[in-house]
């Protein structure tokens, strides 16, 4: 007797997804994960558009990660056009990148994951059972959003980030307000880390992930020109196509990716394991939880995100200090003379490695675009882990299995809106 358990739609994840577990008797045969987000064909939308329009369009691919998509596209465009941006622009972009990570991790940890820790269905349950934690979440998240709003001019789909430069810089008083808000939530990010520390799973360990991330250069943990893997191998980000091989998934509108024919794992846990530079409080937290985070499966990713909350708040404060000292005034964006070429760059998005690659003709019109998102990279590993967990749990009732599989998916923090847009040119 064969039967199917369908979990649809996946709840408390971004976007539309579905899991199907196929049984033969009580034995698990296969588990499929479909990301059936309605396709929006972003790469096709970008074709024929001027380079100046590209960042404003592509950030709409996803709201949770609109900032990092916008920054990654700016980097790729500037690479293709051979443009250098000023120190001021670099600093503001780095700051807003942290703002994006703070709001995204806070949303994921507290709104999507925390209900599992308190066995409630969602917000109303949290308001009832964990009002203090809820308030703490809202304060951390709002500090991240204040960075987005102050630096980007808008919380979602920030407007000030443009090729070669930026709109108005933030006034001194805006920076001071940001500093105050971030200083207030810094201790709370540590409390958030302590909150998630005990919620690691016990029982059978899943596969040890094969990590992949940007190799950080300088003090910024999320930026660099090379990719690095757990085996120490590094390759330049612009030759990503040699590393990733793509296969069209049979079950959804997303493609899956293998790295050297194996599922790869990207995200906060990958970054911590691949040695990204940490700030003092984040380093202390990582040291304290080293065993939990280094000899782990993906379910430790929630704790890794909590460590990153500390990191990103600390780094934001560092950048704000530099900006306050520098006291920048408004500058004109770098003059861009369009030229034919291609630019490929990588940035660490909240959910992991993100790659944008564009080719332009001599008028600066986009002729091809390729976007590789962290969720697409993680999908193969998600499917592997779902199968392993379902197999470990053979004999469990549907409710327990549904609950466990959904929690596992949440640990990967998939962003399904982003995940359906991949193109190989």
């Amino acid at each position: 007797m064969s039967s199917v358990l369908e979990i649809s739609p996946l709840t408390r994840v971004e976007g539309h997804g579905r899991i199907e577990v196929h049984f033969a008797g009580t034995k698990v045969e296969t588990v499929s994960l479909s990301l059936y987000e309605s396709p929006r064909f972003f790469e096709a939308l970008l074709k024929g558009k001027s380079y100046a329009e590209v960042p404003e369009i592509i950030c709409r691919v996803c709201s949770l990660c609109s900032t990092v998509h916008r920054i990654c596209s700016l980097h790729a465009i500037e690479r293709a056009m051979d443009i250098q941006v000023s120190e001021q622009v670099r600093l503001y972009r780095e700051l807003i990148l942290y703002g994006g990570h703070i709001q995204s991790h806070a949303l994921h940890l507290f709104c999507l994951v925390l209900p599992d820790c308190f066995n409630v269905a969602g917000l109303a349950g949290l308001a009832d059972k964990a009002p203090q934690e809820l308030q703490r979440w809202l304060r951390i998240k709002s500090a991240g959003n204040l960075i987005q709003e102050t630096v980007g001019g808008r919380t979602i789909h920030p407007v000030t980030l443009i090729p070669g430069g930026m709109g108005k810089p933030v006034a001194r008083e805006g920076l001071l307000k940001l500093k105050e808000a971030l200083q207030r939530v810094l201790p709370e990010t540590h409390q958030a880390y302590e909150l998630f520390r005990p919620f690691l799973p016990n029982g059978d360990k899943l596969a040890t992930p094969r990590y992949l991330s940007v190799r950080p250069e300088g003090a910024s943990p999320f930026l660099g020109d090379n990719l690095t893997m757990g085996n120490g191998e590094t390759i330049p980000a612009d030759s990503y196509m040699n590393l990733l091989c793509e296969r069209m998934s049979g079950t959804g509108n997303a493609k899956t990716i293998l790295v050297k024919n194996q599922p790869a794992t990207v995200g906060a846990l990958a970054r911590l394991n691949l040695g990204m530079p940490l700030t003092p409080m984040a380093a202390a937290a990582f040291e304290e939880s080293r065993m939990l985070l280094t000899d782990a499966d993906i379910r430790a990713n929630n704790l890794a995100q909590a460590v990153e909350l500390i990191l990103t708040v600390e780094r934001s404060l560092d950048i704000i200090e530099i900006l306050l000292k520098a006291d920048f005034t408004r500058e004109e964006p770098a003059r861009i003379v369009p030229k034919k070429g291609r630019g490929s760059t990588a940035v660490e998005a909240p959910r992991g490695l993100l790659i944008h690659s564009y080719s332009f003709d001599g008028r600066g019109i986009c002729r091809g675009a390729d976007i590789i998102t962290p969720t697409v990279i993680n999908q193969a590993a998600m499917e592997r882990d779902l199968l392993a967990l379902a197999t470990h749990m053979e004999g469990a009732d549907d409710e327990a299995l549904t609950d466990a599989l959904e929690r596992l998916v949440r640990a990967y923090d998939p962003c399904i809106s982003c995940a359906v847009h991949v193109l190989k040119i």
């Binding site: 979990i7 649809s8 739609p9 996946l10 709840t11 408390r12 971004e14 976007g15 539309h16 059936y36 309605s38 396709p39 929006r40 064909f41 972003f42 790469e43 096709a44 939308l45 074709k47 024929g48 329009e53 404003e56 369009i57 709409r60 691919v61 996803c62 709201s63 949770l64 609109s66 709001q103 949303l107 709104c111 209900p115 269905a121 969602g122 917000l123 109303a124 949290l126 308001a127 809820l134 809202l138 304060r139 998240k141 709002s142 959003n145 001019g153 808008r154 919380t155 979602i156 789909h157 407007v159 000030t160 709109g167 108005k168 069209m248 509108n253 408004r330 809106s417 991949v422 193109l423």
Partner: protein, 251 residues
């Protein structure tokens, strides 16, 4: 007072409108208390739309059979339906190339695998069902979303401004990017309510809130042409969030 039962769902979109609700950090605990949230897959473990629902709030355009099924279910089980955001109201970013062949777009991204995709041109909700109210914006303004929720508690809908972004921009005393800096700013054509966010930080209006009533489209187009922008660039920018402008319209 009876708590209104609400449902929040996303169709073809980026979740940004739903995130706008979650970005109301100060108000969220009170919202959770004053409403019964019956269906909200992004934030709640509840897979079924059972109803009856007082107000369904729907983000996104309709571009797949599954979108349509969810929309129909919500319409059938709800007293009122609110289109949340530019995609739900105007078609939005995914609709910008609706004049081109859907099949060609699909093949550009998915190659031969495109055949298996069940998708049609992204359309606003009102092409399929009656909508009772709309909040525009990509993303919507938190203030307008909160005003709507507050009005719902009183069993009504709020009234939003029907004038262009320029009105708000001028009252903020921003430099006019269109006239004084010769930039492509769509402010004269676009629904206000954002307090001219983009021009206020030195960036031209990209039109994310869709057409204002009585927009003088022809005059804006002529002005941009006179300033030296080629027609294809103007059309490309204007269609970013709404593909159906009438370029001859003089309000």
């Amino acid at each position: 007072m009876k708590k209104p039962i609400i449902a929040i769902a996303g169709l073809t979109a980026c979740s940004g409108c739903q995130l706008t609700l979650l970005n109301c950090e100060e108000e969220l605990p009170e919202i959770a208390q004053r409403f019964i949230i019956d269906y909200f897959p992004l934030g709640l473990t509840e897979r079924l739309i059972t109803g009856p629902i007082d107000v369904a709030i729907v983000e996104g355009a309709v571009s797949t059979p599954s979108d349509l099924e969810i929309l129909m279910k919500l319409r059938n089980s709800s007293h009122s339906l609110v289109a949340l955001g530019t995609c739900a109201l105007w078609g939005g970013i995914a609709a910008m190339k609706n004049q081109e062949s859907r099949k060609d777009l699909a093949e550009t991204v998915y190659g031969s695998a495109a055949d298996g995709l069940k998708t049609f041109n992204p359309q606003p909700l009102h092409r399929f069902v009656k909508i009772d109210f709309a909040i525009t914006g990509c993303p919507p303004e938190t203030g307008e979303l909160l005003a709507t929720l507050a009005a719902l508690l009183r069993g009504t809908f709020p009234v939003f401004p029907h004038y262009p972004v320029c009105s708000e921009c001028r009252s903020r005393e921003n430099l006019c990017l269109l006239i004084e800096r010769n930039e492509m700013c769509l402010g004269p054509l676009i629904q206000a309510g954002c307090n001219a966010r983009c021009p206020a930080v030195g960036i031209g209006c990209e039109g994310c809130r869709g057409p204002v009533t009585e927009a003088n489209v022809a005059a804006e187009t002529e002005l941009l042409l006179k300033k030296g922008f080629p027609m294809d660039e103007i059309v490309s920018r204007m269609q970013r969030f709404y593909p159906e402008w009438d370029y001859e319209q003089r309000s």
